[in-house]
């Protein structure tokens, strides 16, 4: 029996719209992942500390509020500060194309925008987990 992958789905910032995050969490569960869900309105530090405690393979972030350029790299930095630089961070939400490159350069592993098929997102999570 193979060990299930553990992932964290977090919503940093003041954005209260968690439909996307919950959709991805359920989709991952249905594909055999163990998903730790943090709920809405978390700070980058809270998400990073939780990811370290729970020893997850991958962190997934969702933002629909437009604050992704600040919040996503902040989570990457907080993880690094806590000894979790090896944990890949994936991001999704309403993210303009021109921001995508900037986020990838800031250390995000992948960015998903509206319309990305769930299967593509799940495969990215799986690939990122496998590398752990």
């Amino acid at each position: 029996m193979s060990t299930p992958y553990r992932v964290l789905i977090g919503k940093p910032g003041l954005d209260g719209h968690d439909r996307g995050a919950k959709f991805i969490a359920r989709a991952l569960r249905d594909e055999g992942f163990e998903v730790i869900y943090t709920g809405i309105r978390r700070t980058a530090a809270e998400i990073a500390a939780t990811a370290i405690q729970e020893d997850v393979d991958v962190v997934g972030l969702s933002s629909l509020s437009g604050a992704h350029l600040r919040l996503f790299p902040e989570v990457v930095k907080e993880l690094k500060d806590r000894g979790g630089a090896d944990i890949p961070v994936l991001g999704g939400g309403v993210i303009p194309d021109e921001d995508k490159e900037q986020l990838l350069a800031a250390g995000l592993r992948a960015i998903f925008t509206p319309g990305t098929p769930a299967a593509t997102i799940i495969q990215s999570f799986r690939d990122a987990c496998k590398q752990q």
Partner: protein
């Protein structure tokens, strides 16, 4: 995999390093490399001294909220706390959503609150084994009180609460017949009954009902066992911990804590035996193609005899 030799992890546990604690628990949960060295290297004294509380009850009774509230109180008493939050795995996909943390996030940045979410992974014995080992890892990292929070009600809970020194059953008014159905089961093993959401109608009736069931237990120890709380407002929490404290003293004085621990350790050892034998036995069963017609019990007995005859 990065270099995680067991000595580094053990040192990390002693240093209370969150990354090491998380990694050590994963090693145990996944039966990974170095699991024996890690568990054998833990400080026995810290394990002996830790207080393990089990919190159980039907979904929606407020277990996670109560747990969070208990954490706040324990932290103001300057106790380092560990929490093992257990949620069910999907029997179909094997995946799980572990959402108990949502109600505990206020403690996320407190280094002295160590939370681990755990999925049942469809194997109860194995879960008890992992959770038991996690208790000991948390104890070795300095946790003084460890709370195991488990889902739902039923046989599975009875097995997990066995790991706890003291079990708290959380109920809320309005569950009606569900609670009637539980009377013969978990209520018998619970040490305390917490009527949460006590501001709701029907709380007094539930308390009276439960006091009747717990009358014998209360008389035996002289400690009130049916308590009320409104966890979302941190009400009644101090009384619960006072009761737990008095009961711990009672258990220790009467040698009951030692007895419970002994039983728990025996049960967990059995669980580990089955867990460790399972892969090899499964493989053997699958390769014994000629034995398919035999009655399963007869076949099982033969396999055990073969096992025991080998040295």
């Amino acid at each position: 995999m990065p270099a995680n030799n067991s000595n580094t992890l053990l040192q990390g546990l002693a240093d209370r390093d969150p990354r090491a604690i998380g990694k050590a628990i994963s090693v145990v949960e996944n039966n990974g490399d170095g699991v024996t060295e890690i568990l054998a290297g833990l400080d026995r004294k810290q394990i002996e001294d830790v207080l393990v509380l089990g919190i159980t009850g039907p979904p929606g009774a407020g277990k996670s909220t109560l747990t969070s509230s208990l954490i706040s109180q324990l932290r103001s008493d300057e106790k380092r706390v560990g929490i093992i939050a257990i949620d069910p795995s999907s029997p179909i996909s094997g995946g799980a959503i572990l959402g108990d943390r949502v109600r505990m996030m206020q403690h996320a940045l407190d280094q002295d609150v160590v939370v681990r979410s755990m999925a049942t992974r469809g194997r109860l014995g194995g879960l008890c084994a992992s959770a038991g080992a996690t208790v000991r890892i948390m104890a070795a990292s300095g946790c003084e009180v460890i709370i195991i929070e488990t889902v739902g009600v039923g046989q599975s809970e009875m097995d997990i609460v066995r790991l706890a020194d003291i079990t708290l059953m959380v109920l809320a008014p309005g569950f009606g017949d569900d609670i009637q159905a539980m009377k013969a089961g978990l209520l018998e093993v619970a040490d305390f009954l917490i009527v949460n959401k006590s501001d709701l109608g029907g709380a007094d009736a539930l308390v009276m009902d439960m006091k009747q069931i717990f009358a014998a237990k209360e008389e035996e120890s002289g400690i009130p066992r049916v308590l009320q709380s409104i966890a979302s407002e941190d009400k009644g929490i101090k009384d619960i911990l006072d009761g737990v404290q008095r009961f711990t003293t009672y258990l220790t004085a009467n040698n009951i804590k030692v007895e419970r621990r002994k039983k728990a350790m025996q049960g967990e050892t059995l669980d580990w035996i089955f867990e460790m034998l399972r892969p090899a036995l499964t493989e053997k069963l699958e390769t014994q193609t000629d034995q398919g017609q035999k009655d399963p019990r007869v076949r099982a007995k033969e396999m055990i005899q073969q096992l025991l005859s080998v040295d």
